[in-house]
Point group: C2
Chain length 635, copies 2
């Protein structure tokens, strides 16, 4: 009789599928079992090289010798020595020998990517910091042998207004060629009079990139600056994830010294450059003609992008290095757009309230003297802003990644295969669920549960009496989908037979506890901000970020995540942080506005607030469901 | 009987000693024979490694396999593979197999270096663009957890005036460390409110570097910015010399494409960084604390330093890429001073009149409405400025390197061993001469003739009747030092027996022709500028540059290089171009003044001037010596 095989913990990023597999399982088979999206063109024969994955060394980039079988000849044919050294492997060629996590890069995935960082609706009249001026520059001759730049400046002068014209030194390198090659020269001028670039052909457009650096996901939007049109978007996993999944572990990694900070900076810069190349290729724009860039990020990601030491963010009193808006040359960071172009880093408020929150507020454009609005941005951290009584109050709370689905027993990100909706019929207790990526003619087996699915499940268990207000599962319930073991109890959403991984997709009692912690923190934060402003009701709730786009407002209300409000007044505003970066890219006034927001925003420090612990403890409970909400069920 | 050995042309830079040696001559023996300064500590046994020289590949940096015997074991012990690849050799270990040129670096020379780029007398009240502000920055605490930069800015604000305080991104990298390490923080602030650097220790000084990039020689001055004191100076050979000795050949080299321009730029940047390291080491200043930099150069060197395409300078209508003053971050060029520091490139006037001439005028500070002054800067090119009648007129003329001594039959730069003074007694026709580096107790044998020596010789031959006014040697003269051969005739200054190279140090008829060309160009240029201003006499003549510092005014007057004037009114002003850079470093107003000078300076184009050819032809003749000058002889 065979000895039972050792069980190993395996995880696939960015989707977040996780689970246990037998020792020695091949990586592509593990991916399939756990429902991770990974293509297999040659059917696992090592002939196509399309199933490249990267083994993520918990100790930082390194080769995979410790956790996987040695590289095969096929792998050596497709992967350079350097790639192997950085953990790249072919999933169909190697077997798992220890707990492991893998990155599945975009090109190795087959399905539609559902990292929801699409641009939102926020719009603005374009008034960018740069503009393009097309002029005819006479050739130098013996009558007028003045320098190339002076002859160009002479033509630009009538258009330049009062700003003193001056050249960027990198632009000058391209000038003689541009003047001799083209009849008409298109100069890119900043409002301060600096000529930062030359646009080649007469028909070339003026473009910029808005960048949103999230802890987990990067998003880039290539925009036409004169029309505001989004030409292309790209999102990728933040590569720093291999140096720590959350902000705290990345701060710890960076604290080890300058080399580590350089590594973190280089990795994100490299990915951003690849994203810029991708959006430019899609829109048929030369990357070195991109003339402007803006960037939002939480304060830690901001520091790591600029190469600043984030240590201060990790210890009391949590002081950042800088939060003001910063303009620097793209070349200073090695960002490959026009060499003379600038990057505007939007201002942050504090170590906890970053430029991403400022970006959200720029995008949702609240008037706190006219309306009362609660803005909730849930990611790995939660940021809550209350606009009320002429003030903008904000708080940050550690929610953990539960609401993103990442750390739940069957949790995964909102990617194909994720259960995103759950219904329990209150009469029959019959269960239905919806899976991301499934269509009427193309069912997709459930691989796990994402954030909106777990909130739905909690809300439905609550209203069906399967779960008590204190979050404890009702062991006496006749609910047939309750799986009771000695240690635990779980709600099986999709039984093993229907699932992708061949195991039950379920919500455990521990999962519910994690949701309670997360929603409790957000709820308590919202209540404290409301108490601080002396208000008891809000007019609207805005949900920002990927999570906000997929959550069912009725379920969120049911579990008490949101204050009492009609579900019609709960609005998802998409990736509002990225939108804010886009608005600041398109309109210079928005940069001034961002500075005003950053100054105006009043931070309420929760950890030291005398009422927070009490509010938090109370908020851990689920509320009694109001009659109103029942009416909205399955609407 | 041995076949006579093949003769090879050999040259040693920066001193410029040249001559022929037999095929197979050892490099150190060739150096000794030609009078080049090269130390030999171990006596040529390959044991000390002190006689490092670099073989200069006419095709750019490369290994010396083509021109020298292969490296010996001794050389491999002292020189890295990379050094060998870049042409570095031990002079006592290799033999010359083809025409060759060698660089003798400073550390391989034994004698005092006489590259005369010492700072001149120009002075100014210091008012630099940067200043240092020492403040105490309170630590962040829970009461005030504001960012490092904001806490610093708060302290700086009272001192900053109206300029909006903003951080350089590179400075921010050093900020957390500086705040936690030091009780007092010294911030370096530019006048525009940018905080560019942090000076560490409380006692640290505020320093800057003024740089003069000559075609042949680079000079750097490290200055204390608050006192104006020159802390240290350094000069090195322009390494681009291996890619062409004059401006024209370097333009041709650079025209081959971007890679060539990058190579030229990198080579000079590398040397400048070495010079900065040297002056900083000498003055005990940390290079990364140097907070500001200014630079003068002729327009071609300016373009090559910035990586701009100089092709336009090499063909009609000789349009530069840019001549305006340019400010750029030192890091943009890879210059290793404070990473946030700026470099101010002083403005030029045209392709022929560079920022070096503007620097000269800044240093000599003329008032053309009050005085009439002719400024002559002779290098590989001659630049002539006339201040008269409220105008500043300037002209550039190709003098060739004859007046620097470089291309004469026995020419060399003003380095130890060069004949710098020559006297011929008009009665006895006895010859005396003075050699650079010689002292009463330490005679130095003559190795060649430098620029001042050849002008002296010409003037003395003229006044002694050995040479006619048209420059022809008087073959009928009884002068015993006239050496007549079938082809040529020469004035032997130092016979072989007295010389370092064991051959006559002499002035040939061809040498005199070269001097006539050079002095004719300068004289004609001066005359045309005077005619243009309608004046016939000048109040003063200023001689700028290395050549101007060593020339004997009486001799210069005797050969007609200068307009008629009393020798007392002829003044050497030292390296005035470098002085100009220094003044602009020390005082911001000087940068504005430089811009005004560059705008005010009226260029008179000689090559197209209707009278130039006639004036030039006339000026080729030597003048009749006036009685006045005879009185000044040997004064």
């Amino acid at each position: 009789m065979d000895k039972p095989k050792k069980k190993l913990q395996v995880r696939f990023l960015p989707e977040g599928m996780r689970g246990t597999v037998d020792h020695g399982t091949r990586v592509d088979q593990a991916a399939r079992r756990l429902g991770a999206d990974l293509q297999s063109v040659c059917g696992g024969q090592g002939k196509c090289g399309k199933c490249r994955v990267r083994w993520l060394d918990p100790a930082g980039p390194g080769d995979s010798a410790a956790a996987l079988t040695p590289p095969t000849q096929q792998e050596e044919a497709f992967l350079s020595e350097e790639a192997l050294r950085h953990g790249w492997r072919l999933a169909c060629q190697c077997h798992i020998l220890a707990d492991a996590a893998f990155e599945v890069p975009k090109e190795s995935r087959s399905g539609r990517q559902v990292i929801r960082k699409d641009p939102g609706a926020g719009s603005v009249t374009p008034d960018p910091v740069v503009r393009i001026i097309r002029v005819k520059v006479p050739a130098a001759d013996l009558e007028n042998p003045s320098p190339d730049w002076e002859r160009l400046a002479q033509q630009l002068a009538p258009e330049a207004g009062h700003a003193p014209l001056h050249p960027d030194a990198a632009m000058l390198k391209a000038l003689p060629d541009a003047l001799s090659r083209e009849k008409e020269t298109a100069a890119v001028l900043r409002k301060n009079g600096e000529c930062i670039a030359l646009a080649g052909a007469a028909g070339s457009s003026l473009t910029g990139v808005a960048l949103d650096i999230g802890t987990t996901t990067l998003a880039a939007y290539l925009c036409e600056l004169t029309t505001g049109e989004v030409l292309a978007t790209s999102s990728e996993v933040n590569p720093q994830i291999s140096c720590g999944e959350d902000v705290i572990s990345r701060i710890a990694y960076a604290a080890e010294g300058r080399a580590r900070r350089q590594e973190l900076q280089q990795s994100v810069v490299k990915t951003v450059n690849r994203m810029i190349a991708a959006v430019c290729a899609e829109a048929d724009v030369a990357a070195d003609s991109v003339a402007d860039m803006t960037c939002v990020a939480n304060t830690c990601m901001h520091h790591l992008f600029l190469g600043l030491d984030p240590s201060g963010l990790g210890r009391s009193p949590f002081a950042p290095v800088a939060t003001c808006g910063i303009d620097l040359k793209a070349r200073d960071l090695g960002i490959r757009i026009a060499p003379g172009a600038w990057i505007h880093m939007l201002p942050a408020v504090s170590g906890f309230i970053g430029a991403d929150t400022v970006g959200v507020l720029l995008a949702v454009d609240l008037d706190p003297s006219k309306e009362t609005v609660l803005v909730i941005d849930v990611g790995t951290n939660g940021e809550i802003v209350l606009a009320a009584g002429g003030r903008l109050l904000c708080a940050s709370c550690a929610t953990g990644p539960a609401l993103e689905g990442a750390t739940l027993s069957c949790g995964m990100r909102a990617a194909p295969g994720a259960v995103e909706r759950v219904w329990i019929d209150p009469e029959t207790l019959a269960v239905e669920y919806a899976v991301i990526g499934a269509a009427a003619d193309r069912p997709v087996p459930a691989a796990g549960v994402c954030g909106s699915g777990v909130i739905d499940a909690a809300a439905q268990m609550l209203t069906s009496g399967i779960m008590k207000k204190n979050g404890a599962f009702n062991r006496e319930s006749s609910f047939p989908r309750l799986k009771r073991t000695n240690k635990d109890i779980a709600f099986v959403i999709a039984p093993a037979a229907e699932s992708a991984g061949g195991r039950d997709v379920e919500i455990s009692q521990d999962d519910i506890r994690a949701v309670q912690m997360a929603k409790g923190a957000i709820q308590a934060a919202g209540r404290l901000l409301m108490a601080e402003s002396g208000i008891e009701r809000v007019d609207r709730v805005l949900l920002a970020g990927a999570f906000g786009s997929v959550i069912d407002p009725v379920s969120a209300l049911a579990i008490g995540l949101l204050p009492e409000i009609s579900p019609q007044e709960v609005h998802a505003v998409g990736n509002a942080a990225g939108d804010g970066a886009r608005l600041a890219l398109l309109n210079e006034g928005m940069r001034r506005k961002a500075a005003v927001i950053a100054k105006t925003l009043e931070t309420v420090e929760l950890t030291t607030h005398p009422d927070f612990q009490r509010e938090f403890a109370m908020a851990m409970h689920f509320p009694r469901m109001s009659h109103d909400l029942r009416k909205h069920r399955r609407s």
